[in-house]
């Protein structure tokens, strides 16, 4: 599926990213590049540093060392708010929704719309009617017809995940990073998320896709980066890769059980 996609310029380049939690070196001198229109798979075993890397790239964590260039610019210490203002959206593994707020409040969280007059802007007075309308329009267009006034706590795990993914897809006009976006989803919704990922890439968004599901990774990505114990150990074109090869890179050894490939 990568053949017809036009892969363009590097939009995010991270060089030499290191991050330690106390004595544990979560990331050790990792380089990674995201390109316009490309889906980059990021794989690795539990604890390999995938989530830490995403949080460094999205401005949530400050790396101990290394530089992050966005469109060639080094903005210094990247903050989550600034990254978002550059059109970078992230779905975190633990979902990043506030359960006590409703769907609209989560959809717009920290990018609310105000009434368009000076006092309303000064007081940051919310235009709630418009936000409910916009939320429902966007979620409906994504095939997620949810009542935007429902509290997130009233939704099922799958619905919450789709809201989080839908939010990232809607607002991420430049770079979208998805950490296990299909983890809580059934088969049909997983397929829908994979379709969203391809559609975004075709629109020129750079997508970083983290999954433990080799089938998903092989289906949806153009290129795959493998992390092991916080280090970058492999970078391969998906078209040339096999599941066996990736699993070998992830684990650092050939996993063979009773003579059979253990890879999915």
């Amino acid at each position: 599926m990568s053949e017809q996609t036009q892969i363009g310029d590097v939009v995010l380049e991270a060089r030499g990213i290191s991050k330690a939690y106390g004595a544990v070196q979560a990331l050790d001198n990792v380089d990674i590049e995201l390109r316009r229109g490309e889906v980059l798979g990021l794989v690795g075993d539990n604890g390999a540093g995938k989530t830490t890397l995403v949080k460094c790239l999205s401005g949530v964590f400050r790396p101990d060392s290394g530089t992050i260039l966005i469109d060639g610019n080094d903005y210094g210490d990247l903050t989550a708010e600034f990254a978002r203002s550059l059109g970078i959206e992230t779905v975190y593994q633990n979902l990043s929704l506030v359960d006590t707020l409703d769907v609209m409040q989560n959809f717009f969280l920290n990018r609310e719309l105000f009434y368009n007059n000076p006092p309303a802007r000064a007081l940051r007075w919310l235009n709630r009617r418009r936000m409910y309308k916009v939320t429902e329009e966007h979620l409906r267009a994504l095939g997620l017809p949810v009542d935007a006034r429902r509290p997130v706590s009233a939704l099922s795990g799958g619905q919450r995940q789709m809201i989080a993914v839908g939010r990232a897809i809607t607002w991420g006009r430049h770079i979208v990073m998805l950490d296990e976006p299909a983890a809580a989803l059934g088969v049909r919704q997983s397929i829908q998320v994979l379709r969203f990922v391809r559609t975004m890439a075709e629109r020129g968004v750079a997508v970083l896709f983290i999954s433990h599901n080799m089938q998903h990774v092989l289906q949806v990505t153009d290129r795959i980066v493998v992390l092991r114990h916080g280090a970058h150990v492999g970078n391969l074109r998906t078209a040339d890769a096999t599941a066996q090869q990736i699993v070998t890179l992830i684990t650092g050894s050939e996993l063979v059980i009773a003579g059979q490939d253990f890879a999915v």
């Binding site: 990043s96 929704l97 506030v98 707020l101 007075w125 017809p145 839908g166 809607t170 629109r203």
Partner: protein, 346 residues
Amino acid sequence: MTDTTPQTPPSAGPALTERPEGVLNLLRAGLNRASGSVRALGTLAALGLIWLYFSLESQYFFTTANIWNILLQSANVGIIAAGLTVVMIAAEIDLSIGSLEALSGSVAAVVIIQHGYSIWLGIAAALGATVLAGMVSGLITWKLKVVSFISTLAMLGIAQGVAFLLTNGHAIAGFGSTYAQIGTSTIDGFPGAVIIAAGAFLVLHLMLTRTKLGLQIYAVGGNAEAAAYAGINPGRVKLIALMISGFTGGIAGLILSSRLDAGNGLFGAGDLLQAVAAVVIGGTSLFGGVGNVIGTAIGVVIIASINDGLILMNVPDFWQQIVVGVLIIAAMVVDQLAKAARLTVR
């Protein structure tokens, strides 16, 4: 933020989300949506029952003069409880509010009575001192990661100590008639202090429900991590909440010192218990993210009504504190039972 217009989403696939159907799900959705107002109606019903009981027990209870008196007795506790509600929605607590009342009144007394400066300067200094106190608690919580339970407990001691130092342990009395207007003026018999309190509730209600700041307070209290992912700084929001509580503590202290015509380190000392009770009775969660000032307003009036009714029934004063303590526990138990019931329905 440079661009608030979302890009058009990718073309829709077939609708693949599960959509809850059926009576049970509809009922559940309705309950969830209305759970806030159901809770408020329950509190209001409790107030109605309390008023009914005291009206039956005492012929003086349900009279205009007595109801106005209940509202007047609610005014300064109500104002600190409104500020405390904001702090508790942000998943923090402010234990210093009672002593902030003392600090505010004492600063006003020193500036106005001892030094003879204008009333306006005294009010500004008093509010400045309490907002500064809230800011110190908030900064300690934000920057030094000391939970507000501790930072505001320390501020409880510090603010009261400063108030005692300023007044030399005595009550500095004699503000004069203009200052007395703050707490004692009436409009056709209706106490002006209640109007100030109602104004505070209205402003905080609108702030919480209609402004971005309010939404951030709910977001940070509901899930500080998710709020941080969205670029909200939880520590900063909690700082603002504690400064709001400092401001309301200052206003309440002005009203109290005006009514007592003095400033002293002891004034307001018993108000913390009542304010916490009012907030909890009003349905604000101790865990943050849930609550509103309307419920708190009803909670304050419930407590003032019980205090007033017990006096009319000649019950000794000491019982009031016991009753308020029992009410806190009762409100928590009711909320726990309701929570358990909701979980079983789900």
